[in-house]
Assembly symmetry: C2
Homo-oligomer: 285 residues x 2
């Protein structure tokens, strides 16, 4: 039986229950984070912890254990015997349990915190061969920078992609590619990388930000500028990236084949650099 | 102890627990409805039931008890001894419990259904005296016609209104007033009513639709057309309306006093017509 984290306790999953009056359930009034464990260490856990604390600040949820994110994450890995595996840790904090009312509970109630860990390998075949993206209008709210669990828009778009044989969505807002349903999207044009700038229209992805830094360190030109959906035909490569999937080549978006329809050299170079970065984070090296 | 409804059972509220792996909790992957009981009968329950079934259809949640909405609502009232009171019934259906993954569970799992009833009077003072609205950009997704629980945008905007002494929000999208955080908004200009047309940008409010029908039956001119935020100074009256609050006069929106800053004659006439309509639904008459 898995061990999960619930409100400060580590308990068997089948004992973990919450009230249906939790605001995470009634309102999607909650934030979360997913981190990756590489059989001995986390990938950039401080960046994930910082982002979760930012999400809490932006939603005005005061969680007393916000400084314990790293510790809780590590303990979930260890208690589930995942120390040597590829795994992910999920951690969600809600505004807590209160009689239903849009306004925040006054006085505030204790936030609900829930976490679990599970074995989760990288899909190496997908990283090698690439995939197609489902092109659709970005239906989401205007604060995509907050990693909230009010994800119905993402769920519905992702399901549509899935039903159409695509591994991810390509959202377009006001004619510009924003990001995926749970990833950031990059393009290559004339050996220069392009991705949507940080703003309220995208989540500031941890993998995204590491790719941006890697490009700078390796003198690969990168411009944080959104690509117009009607310019896809003139891009040469594309990939999406996120914590659970790393860097995945994109061969086709909607009906548009990208470049030559196979993983391109800049994408492959970023994959190598990213894997080196992962390994460089191993404290045992 | 209240009696709540959970997955087909009527149980004491303190025994009602759900899994934190419920998609309503993890993704806001769920829809809901709030209906009003007037001490002996529901207000337009068939319209609420129809809208909930539409929300289920739009989100592709197959709930086997979708034909029992009226029966469950009535039973919640009776089991809580609210038959003679003003009360509301809340009913929420989620896609169910499954390991976390954006895609719908495949094969599908049983939806989770949760309902409760509680005493809830009309705020007659507010209906008489009116209130101010907090003017803000509509931050929500593009499917506001689905009554989903992914409500963080509504919660945050409503809290901002509340912090600023307003009883509701006035959302503006692309320069046009859409609706409130949990109500529809009407304006009066030269004795004609205006409200945002039904579309994916607003919820098709049951009270709204009854107001529209009442206006038609009583030869009060009404145009389903959005009002521009920069035209507020040229409107003569405003009100918002919803299931829990009926019709509430709006005296000020942001910094703009509406008309003479007091409940206007068309608003008051609609309140009278609406109260007559409520009474006309009483089967004991």
């Amino acid at each position: 039986m898995d061990t999960v984290y619930l409100n400060g306790q580590f308990i068997p999953r089948n004992e973990a229950v919450i009230s249906p009056d939790d605001r995470g359930f009634l309102f999607g009034d909650s934030v979360y984070e997913v981190t990756r464990w590489y059989g001995g260490y986390f990938f950039d856990l401080p960046a994930h912890a910082k982002r979760l604390r930012r999400s809490l600040t932006e939603t005005k949820i005061s969680w007393q254990d916000a400084e314990r994110i790293e510790e809780i994450s590590e303990e979930l890995i260890q208690r589930n015997g995942l120390g040597g595996d590829c795994a992910i840790v999920y951690l969600q904090i809600t505004r807590g349990v209160a009689p239903r009312n849009h306004a925040f509970p006054d006085p505030p109630v204790s936030p609900t915190s829930y976490g679990f860990a599970k074995r989760h390998s990288i899909n190496t075949l997908l990283c090698e061969q690439g995939t197609s993206l489902w092109l659709t209008t970005d239906p989401r709210w205007n604060r995509c920078d907050i990693k909230s669990t009010a994800l119905l828009a993402n769920v519905m778009a992702y399901q549509e992609a899935h039903d159409n044989g695509c591994a991810e969505v390509c959202f377009v807002r006001d004619g510009l590619v924003t990001e995926g349903a749970h990833s950031n999207i990059f393009f290559v044009k004339n050996d220069t990388l392009y991705t949507h700038p940080e703003s309220e229209k995208i989540l500031s992805g941890i993998t995204r930000n590491n790719v941006v830094a890697l490009a700078a360190e390796n003198n690969i030109p990168l411009i944080e500028e959104a690509v117009a959906a009607d310019m896809l035909a003139y891009t040469h490569e594309s990939f999406f990236c996120n914590t659970t999937g790393e860097i995945v080549p994109v061969l086709k978006i909607g009906d548009q084949v990208i470049g030559e329809g196979r993983p391109g050299p800049v994408t492959q170079k970023m994959q190598v650099l990213f894997r080196n970065l992962i390994q460089s984070m191993d404290p045992r090296r």
